[in-house]
Amino acid sequence: MNTSDTDSEMHEAVPTWKRDFPYQAASEEEVTRREFARYLVLGASSMAAANVGIAVWTQLRSINVGEPRAVVALDTLAVADTHLFRYPTDADPAVLLRISEDEVVAFSQKCTHLGCVVFFEAEEDRWHCPCHEGNFEAATGAVISGPPTRPLGKIDVEIRDDGMIWALGQVERS
């Protein structure tokens, strides 16, 4: 047998892809199906633990619903006028709407879809989110149309005897 015969035999034994890409990992370790499944089950168990942790966190955390404070004088707002303010903290934009002579409502200005700012459309009598065309009822904040599935965050307000409108706290969702 000469050298060319030996070469051709070797070429036949080695697949073409291996001849073209003669890459060899430093340590190619085989993972059995059982090991692979064990990693998956470990991942599933970790996710279950995370899920329980999130549930406990949801149960135990306290949400700042805000302290009662004066927002604006009623007589500075005409019917269908809005007033922007911050509540319960300075990082939370909120909006107040006078819907009739003696009735006002206030909501968080963050759209419940992706947090864009909603504004009042007097002609349509609704809150409108321009980012994804979400619409909410003016008086209740309930979803009318668009991608949001939850109503706007409501803030309890009252008109006091001195003519000031007070924010009393965010209404917690049940």
Partner: protein
């Protein structure tokens, strides 16, 4: 033609079940995060309960898996 052994087929089926259960766990985790954002305790606890059951099922399946 090489036919796969019955034991091999069972192992592959169990592995597929485990992969499906892990995918379901990922879905449940997104539900939990959504419940957290929405402050919905009922949904969060329901998701956690189902997640624990699914993890238990995945562990149980592991017993049937050959190497």
């Amino acid at each position: 033609m090489r036919l796969s052994q019955p034991g091999n087929r069972t192992s592959s089926s169990v592995l597929i079940y485990v992969i499906l259960l892990v995918s379901f766990q990922v879905f449940l985790l997104t539900i939990a995060v959504e419940a957290f954002a929405d402050d919905s305790e009922t949904l969060a606890w329901s998701s956690a309960a189902v997640s624990v059951v699914v993890a238990g099922a995945a562990i149980a399946f592991l017993r049937f898996l050959r190497t």
